[in-house]
């Protein structure tokens, strides 16, 4: 029998979508039974109490968790989020209920062996409840007590060759799309770059030295399957410089209806016969495509690599060969001044291991600037807003490029610097008055 009545939560067991309540209940039951004979290092009824406190929140319409306080593992400033229940007497099993962020593997591929190891560890030293995965990308171990933190870290590093992810004013756990592992659109190896930078910057990831959090995300192409442009301080988006490769025979196969457009993504409805003019050429945002008789022509110089035509005809069109990334900076959530999307600061850069240019000419100068100038709790995007995109361009030591803006300024309020203006700013009013009486 369940420890707490959960009449409201019980209503979330019905319906087709996987019920987290049912899952929590099965876990609670499993822990109660403990068929595997685990020597639980945190309360056996943690999941029962988690259901209990959640039910109470459903009743009150308010959370019952308190601020975290500073908990963590020695020498690290991140990877753990402290959490305490505000009704510890009622729910002692979750009185202390901290999370650990485990740095997920690139592309979120797993072997069952490794997953089971994680499960064993977590059943033993934690609640057995996880998030697969957190929004940043980590594996989230949801709920353990303070004494277990070092133990878990020790086992992770010693037994599983696995480190924690980020939290606090650190580099946060970088994340990538599946990319070249299984996607024909990927313009670079997202997993390789993500892994390399994660390892290069372990110190930044674990020891808070930044004004605030900092995120990297790696999208293999402009489809942005890891949403880097919306939620990473530095967003790496794959792109190419040369021409889209066209297989004209395959184009004809699409036109002829032999291949379903967009790989069949619209199969649930009858949208009529595929019309290349309407569905591809007219929707191309730059209007750089045309049929020339039976030949599809792309004026690649005008193409902005939006992916649409390629998405619609993946068997006929392929990304170019001269590949690299565009880097955008400053995306973040709305607090404090409104959400920001990444701003294009490096239109194109090669992605070749060991990625020296990316590290030394982009990431590190930006960090130096931000650490020098950023205020406490000021994200890169906010600093960019405060000091201006010009400043970042200066920091990067590159030439201003119209590609960095959607449009030039419409206000003429240019802050000229003294050394840009002949004669400087010191002028003699009395000399002026010789020509201009009061």
């Amino acid at each position: 029998m369940a420890k707490h009545e959960t009449p409201m939560l019980d209503q979330l067991e019905s319906g087709p979508w996987p019920s987290f309540v049912s899952d929590l209940k099965q876990e609670a039951e499993k822990r109660a039974k403990n068929a595997a004979g685990v020597e639980f290092q945190i309360p056996q009824d943690a999941v029962e109490d988690l259901l209990g406190v959640l039910e109470l929140s459903y009743k009150h319409g308010r959370t019952h968790w308190k601020h975290g306080g500073i908990v963590g593992v020695f020498g690290y400033g991140g990877g753990v989020i402290g959490r305490y229940c505000d009704q510890p007497q009622m729910f002692p099993g979750v009185a202390h209920f901290h999370t650990l962020r485990i740095n997920q593997p690139g592309g979120k591929f797993y072997t069952t062996k490794y997953l089971r190891e994680l499960c064993d560890l977590w059943d033993f030293r934690g609640s057995g409840i996880t998030n697969m995965h957190g929004s940043t990308g980590d594996i989230i171990f949801l709920g353990t007590t303070t004494p277990q933190l070092e133990e878990i870290f020790y086992e992770l590093t010693h037994k599983y060759n696995q480190d924690l992810g980020g939290s606090g004013s650190n580099l946060r756990t970088p994340a990538d799309c599946i990319g070249q592992a299984r996607c024909e659109y990927a313009c670079y190896d997202t997993q390789a770059l993500c892994y390399d930078l994660t390892n290069e910057y372990q110190d930044e990831l674990h020891r808070p030295a930044f004004p605030y959090k900092f995120k990297f995300k790696f999208d293999g192409c402009p489809n942005c399957c890891v949403a880097s442009i919306a939620r990473s301080d530095l967003s790496f988006i794959g792109t190419w410089k040369d021409d889209i490769k066209i297989d004209q025979a395959a184009v004809q196969a699409y036109i002829g209806g032999e291949i379903a457009p967009n790989a069949g993504a619209h199969s649930g409805r009858d949208w009529g016969k595929f019309d290349i003019q309407k569905e591809v050429i007219n929707l191309c945002p730059t209007g750089c495509m045309a049929m020339d008789g039976k030949t599809l022509k792309i004026n690649n110089r005008e193409c902005t690599r939006c992916m649409h035509c390629i998405n619609v005809m993946p068997r006929a069109l392929h990304i170019g060969d001269e590949r690299g990334v565009s880097i955008l900076a400053g995306a973040k959530a709305p607090i404090l001044d409104g959400a920001q999307m990444g701003t294009l600061i490096v239109p194109f850069i090669e992605v070749e291991p060991p990625y020296t240019k990316i590290k030394e000419e982009v990431i590190e100068p930006i960090w130096d600037w931000w650490m020098e100038e950023g205020k406490n709790r000021e994200r890169l995007g906010e600093l960019m807003k405060r000091q201006g995109l010009q400043k970042l361009i200066e920091v990067l030591g590159v030439d201003p490029d119209p590609r960095m803006v959607q449009e030039p300024r419409s206000n003429p309020y240019i802050f000229w610097k003294e050394d840009e203006v002949p004669g400087g700013w010191d002028r003699d009013i009395n000399e002026f008055r010789k020509y201009h009486q009061r």
């Binding site: 876990e27 997953l115 089971r116 070092e150 086992e155 590093t157 010693h158 480190d163 199969s267």
Partner: protein, 381 residues
């Protein structure tokens, strides 16, 4: 329960310590067909909603079966996933960036047995454990955050509304009848742990009452200057108060200037905002992150407030259903929700979605607000 040491010695924390080793390397985990064909994929196709094939230059194929999942997941559930992966996929599995589970097989003949196995697995309460879908022009899984399960600042729950909404739109998780991707996200407070600000449909927890002041403890529990500095609207001032005859340092909040962001509460636990009637959900719509055709867009607030109707948030899910249906009926093929709204005009969006346009939806936050007003004589009656 006896404490069992891992080997860690608290007396000598640096002894034997291993740090900064980073994550496990991705290629340890690739299924063989992935490892072999990485970077050499030619194209992909959907066999049915939730089932993809990718074909490589080598001629190899990988079949992916995508399953929805509550990302709040027990080890029991993960072990069951492992069981399936062992049985069908040579012990490999992955998760997507939207918390779906992907089982991959390297031969078409392995697909149907896998699908059959998955279809048979249900939770006791009756819900599917592994519903197949979430691909192509449909509604994928909702990315979400902690809510009442773990966070201290939420204005709504996360897992509950997600379950309720996914139940409502379940058929579209399993079909390809939408004009384009429909991406729904949830964040339980303004911190927006997720890409909620750029989603086709966003569910956002929002407070509507200014913080309460726990004067008696405030100075003890908080750094008053940090609390003051945290407020983006400068609504907080230092104040002296008298409680039970005792003069205490505390703060005062100018309620008129408060926009309920909870930033003060993040810095100071003596300024809680949560309130049964005050808290609830804001619905936003029309955002996207892909660069396909149009540039990424922010989501727009289309319903200012829906109360927290636990446990099934009926108005929230009905509203979302309503928007999705209007979109499905009216948008053009390949047109994302925001592109549709912009093409028909937001006046038509509200009409077609049968939503009220209230004054709350007009931007009044800082200078950029002005640019959202209508500065043309072009409009539709």
């Amino acid at each position: 329960m006896a404490f069992i040491s891992s080997g860690y010695n608290p007396e000598k924390p640096m002894e034997d310590r291993i740090t900064d080793i980073g994550p496990r390397k991705f290629d340890e985990f690739y299924p063989p067909v992935i490892a072999k064909n990485k970077g050499k994929w030619l194209y992909h196709e959907y066999l049915q909603p939730g089932v993809l094939v990718h074909v490589a230059e080598s001629g190899d194929e990988v079949y992916t079966v995508r399953c929805g999942g509550a990302r709040l997941m027990s080890t029991s559930h993960i072990r069951e996933i492992c069981e399936i992966a062992d049985k069908h996929c040579g012990g490999h599995v992955r998760w997507t960036t939207r918390n779906n589970i992907e089982f991959m097989v390297d031969n078409k003949s392995k697909v149907q047995p896998l699908l059959d196995d998955l279809a048979g697995r249900k939770f006791k309460g009756g819900s599917f454990k592994f519903p197949v879908g979430g691909t192509g022009a449909g509604v994928s899984n909702i990315v979400h955050t902690q809510g009442w399960i773990h966070c201290h600042t939420p204005a709504t729950d996360a897992s509950g509304p997600v379950k309720a909404v996914m139940d409502e739109v379940f058929a579209d998780f399993q079909s390809h009848r939408m004009p384009a991707h429909v991406r729904v996200s949830l964040a339980c407070c303004l911190n927006m742990c997720g890409a909620v600000h750029c989603s086709d449909i966003a569910i956002l927890g929002y407070h509507r009452k200014p913080p309460m002041l726990d004067h008696e403890y405030l100075d003890k529990m908080c750094e008053i200057p940090l609390a003051i500095a945290a407020c983006p609207t400068a609504a907080i001032k230092p104040a002296k108060v008298e409680i039970n005859g005792q003069k205490l340092n505390s703060v005062a909040v100018n309620n008129e200037r408060c926009m309920f962001c909870g930033n003060c509460y993040t810095m100071c636990p003596s300024m809680p905002l949560a309130d049964t009637e005050g808290d609830g959900i804001v619905i936003m719509a029309g955002g996207k992150v892909s660069n396909r055709i149009s540039a990424p867009k922010f989501s727009k607030v289309v319903v200012a407030f829906i109360p927290n109707e636990a446990p099934r948030w009926p108005r929230t899910s009905a509203t979302i259903k309503q928007i999705i249906e209007a979109y499905a009926n009216d948008a053009r093929k390949y047109e994302r929700l925001g592109e549709w709204a912009e093409r028909i005009g937001w006046e038509r969006f509200f009409e077609k979605c049968e939503l009220d346009f209230t004054h709350h939806l007009i931007d009044d936050f800082r200078d950029p607000a002005y640019y959202t007003w209508r500065q043309t004589s072009q409009f539709k009656f």
